[in-house]
Symmetry: C2
Subunit: 249 residues, 2 copies
């Protein structure tokens, strides 16, 4: 069974492993549609299965059946099909954010590992939402969910429209934009987070569009001039640790 035959239809996605399943069951914005469990994992999932709605089928299978369905060895032994009920637009998410808020804005993030890691960091530093442009990849892709340790099922997000449209909406809602780029004007160590802060991150290769950077305040993480820039997920961690309410600033 191929992931693309399941996902993308009515907000469906594949979740792997117990940790991710727990996040899925705990968040009413997502629904569990079915569960496929390796026979030797069943006993350890009694609590989770009790939480499943009565109409959710739980299939318990032998290893060869599971590996055949997955198409590769499924070491985790737990595969869930989930559905996303939260279909709020980026505009609705922005309206729903608290007065003091931290938003993460992503432009052109095409690597699922990076997407998952950014969500993990967004959850760790309690970002209120992740707003993703239409050129970025889907945070509900199986690998992105796994790398996020379930954070992709925890932090509210919307993925739609152009980066320019997202930025305009945030600015209208009183968000101060902090665009992170190696050529940024101000050091992140000198940046003062605003009451409503939006952290804007682009691809590792191309970076953020020049036309966009010209109209925003830009920040950089000071580092060696002799080495390739940081991984974008690591950069998100550094910036979020600085801008989150946990920093004490």
């Amino acid at each position: 069974m191929r992931e693309r035959d399941i996902v993308g239809r009515e907000g469906r996605f594949i979740a792997e492993g117990k940790v991710v399943l727990n996040v899925l069951l705990a968040n009413p914005a997502f629904a569990l549609e079915s569960l496929l469990v390796l026979e030797n994992r069943l006993a350890g999932l009694t609590g989770q299965i009790k939480l499943c709605p009565a109409d959710v089928p739980v299939y318990c299978v032998a290893r060869d059946v599971m590996d055949t369905i997955a198409g590769f060895p499924m070491h985790r032994g737990i595969l869930a099909v989930g559905r996303r009920n939260d279909r709020r637009s980026s505009e609705e998410l922005i309206l729903a954010m608290p007065d003091k808020a931290l938003a993460v804005v992503l432009c052109g993030i095409s690597n699922h590992d990076n997407m998952g890691s950014i969500f993990r960091n967004a959850a760790a530093f309690e970002a209120d939402a992740v707003l993703i442009d239409e050129t970025s990849c889907d945070p509900l892709y199986r690998k992105a969910i796994r790398v996020s340790v379930g954070a992709a099922l925890k932090v509210p997000f919307a993925r739609e429209g152009s980066i320019e449209a997202i930025v305009t909406r945030l600015q209208s809602a009183g968000f101060e934009m902090f665009a992170l780029t190696p050529s940024g004007m101000t050091s992140i160590h000198d940046a003062k987070p605003a009451r409503r802060t939006a952290l804007l991150l682009g691809t590792e290769g191309e970076g953020l569009p020049k036309s966009l950077l010209e109209n925003l305040q830009t920040f950089k993480i000071p580092m060696s001039a002799n080495f390739d820039s940081l991984n974008v997920a690591t950069a998100s961690g550094i910036a979020l640790s600085r801008f989150s309410r946990f920093s004490g600033f």
Copy 2:
């Protein structure tokens, strides 16, 4: 050909891709032993091949030959066998460090992705050395080198002995230890780097040994109490950005 039949013998390793090859050729601590290049990549490597010593064989092959040798599709089209000439012990590396220094100390890091990412961050923030205990994995494993974007061939390192022995040697050399742990006493935002700073990082699962933490000053990255801790590589990036000379502290 299996990696384990080549590496670990006389400090040999496998390096992939042009970026990593450039780092390898630029660092006299490493020697290139042979180069395997896909025929359509040869023209783009003229500069690199001129830098190869005359006795280094360069094999130029068709795609099916390369994939057969590698055992998997080799998209990058460039495979090098390298040898590490720098066999300094952790003691020698500590002696060689400048008066003002930043060392990264790793305990029980077993994941090659994390190892590579930590080296990438160490290079980005110009750490002087990485000291790795004997229970951690090899930064010269193919995947670790690739994820490090070559930094594993750039930042001096030693991998030997117990974590206790490494810490004792650093303390004798006047290094102040900063052990990063979720239960740390002080926030990293309040930490003041010392003239000689050693940043100590442990595994994501177990963390640093309790017996070690009892005798060191401990630090934490303040974050949500409701979410799994950060990835250790991300944590290294946050801590290095704070402790490096680029932070302005």
